[in-house]
């Protein structure tokens, strides 16, 4: 599915929390009815969801991870989180 949803200034939705799990050495995204295990890029992405713009997030990730994370991938990932109600959109 192509992303049609507007993602401008994503923030984590109410009750959604990032956490580093020291026991398993994993990144977790926790929310009321469950959790996701994230990879390094995913974790870095959700931690940047603080109301800054999508472009800023994409740019920061490119600086950190190089070209392997395409802007489109980041967008798709955020879109998936958004369709599960895990991120919402500040102002906009």
């Amino acid at each position: 599915m192509k992303a049609t949803f507007k993602i401008e200034r994503p923030t984590l939705a109410r009750g959604v929390r990032y956490r580093w799990d020291p026991v398993r050495a994993e990144h977790h995204l926790l929310f009321p009815e469950g959790m996701l295990v994230l990879n390094d890029t995913g974790a870095a992405t959700v931690r940047l969801c603080d109301g800054r713009s999508l472009e800023e997030i994409q740019q920061t990730l490119r600086l950190e991870f190089g070209d392997e994370t395409s802007a489109e991938e980041v967008r798709e990932f955020l879109h998936r989180l958004s369709s599960r109600g895990l991120i919402c959109h500040a102002d906009s």
Partner: protein
């Protein structure tokens, strides 16, 4: 295969509850387990759970708010970095108590509702409770809690699903969880009076799909399908002893909250051993872990890694043997028992249900 560590702990703080829902998953013999763990022991359990790898704790019951030390326990969970969720009937969830819970670090709140219609809600709960639930949801939202409204679906409320969804939108909750009754505990006892008609289930699925099409960004709906009406069973808990564990009010450690249904199983207690010892070594956790124990037809079935043969409690309730394929499965040699249960429940004579009560 290496034994994975659990992600979630269901902390059943008490079996006491002001409501009397006829589908309650608590055991029938509630009074047998009235020796509740004290605060200190629960705090130890929370610490051991976090060391074992648990990241989420669900405070549940019964009604966890009847425990005077709930705020303290939430604070402890928070101290260990656990994500905490409270499932409540909201009967005693006044704004002061909710504020204290918020300050103690409670992450999310799940409030049960029995029906969109106040009179039916109160009839099903056995107690007037609709208004209290409404007030609790309003104050929780005001305090900034993410709120999930949880409605258990069955014959008596399925026809009002549209109203239920409308009400949840109106109350502005973040999520609506629609879970069909799981027929264990009191629900199994009352199965004849609760089982829906197949058409009701189909219609419900359509209503949810329609809402998701139209209003997806208004509210999240989680829809847990009723397994009696499916072809294959649920991957109960993602597999026995794989991700979840339950500590019951008296300190018994259960692979699943309804495992007490199976009288042949012996459950270790937090009084005697550490949670980690129990998780990795207790025979009851080993018994149905993984796929090696699976009987036929599961053993040679492609889906065995998907559903692990289904629910052990359901296998026991239908057949008296917790080690067989879940009868919900089309391939189970006992599958006709499920069909029978459904048709019997609609044989023309309306059954009354029995309210959940503490019998001494």
């Amino acid at each position: 295969m290496q034994t994975p560590r659990p992600y979630a702990l269901l902390a059943e703080l008490t079996y006491r509850c002001p409501l009397q829902c006829p589908y309650c998953s608590n055991p029938l013999e509630l009074a047998r387990y009235d020796q509740e763990l004290d605060t200190f022991t629960w705090q130890r359990v929370l610490r051991e759970a976090s060391e074992l790898g648990v990241v989420q704790v669900h405070f549940s019951g019964g009604e966890p708010l009847v425990r005077r030390d709930l705020v303290e326990l939430v604070a402890t969970a928070c101290k260990y970095g656990l994500y905490s969720n409270l499932s409540t009937s909201a009967m005693t969830a006044n704004p002061q108590r909710l504020t204290q819970l918020r300050e103690a670090g409670l992450d999310s709140l799940q409030v049960s509702l029995l029906d969109a219609e106040p009179a039916t809600n109160n009839w099903l709960a056995g107690v007037p409770s609709f208004e209290k639930k409404q007030q609790a949801v309003a104050s929780a939202i005001k305090l900034g809690f993410p709120v999930t409204l949880n409605v258990v679906l069955h014959r008596h409320n399925l026809d009002r699903l549209t109203q239920i969804i409308d009400l949840a939108c109106q109350w502005q909750v973040d999520r609506l969880e629609l879970a069909h009754v799981q027929y264990t505990g009191w629900a199994f006892h009352n199965r004849q009076a609760l089982l829906p008609r197949r058409e009701q289930v189909i219609q419900a699925t359509e209503i949810v799909a329609e809402f998701r099409q139209r209003d997806a960004n208004k509210m999240q709906i989680l829809h847990v399908l009723p397994d009696y009406f499916q072809e294959f069973p649920k991957a109960c808990l993602n597999g026995w002893g794989q991700r979840f564990l339950t500590v019951a009010p008296d300190g018994a450690v259960l692979p699943c909250q309804t495992a007490r249904e199976i009288p042949q199983l012996e459950f270790p207690s937090v009084h005697d051993q550490s949670l980690s010892r129990i998780w990795f070594d207790a025979p009851v956790f080993q018994k149905y872990r993984g796929t090696d124990w699976l009987p036929e037809p599961c053993r040679s079935c492609e889906r065995r890694e998907l559903d692990f043969g289904g629910c052990r409690c359901q296998a026991f309730l239908f057949t008296g043997d917790s080690g067989v394929t879940d009868p919900v499965c089309l391939f189970s040699p006992h599958h006709e028992l499920v069909e029978q249960a459904i048709s019997q429940a609609h044989s023309g004579i309306e059954m009354e249900f029995e309210y959940r009560r503490m019998k001494k």
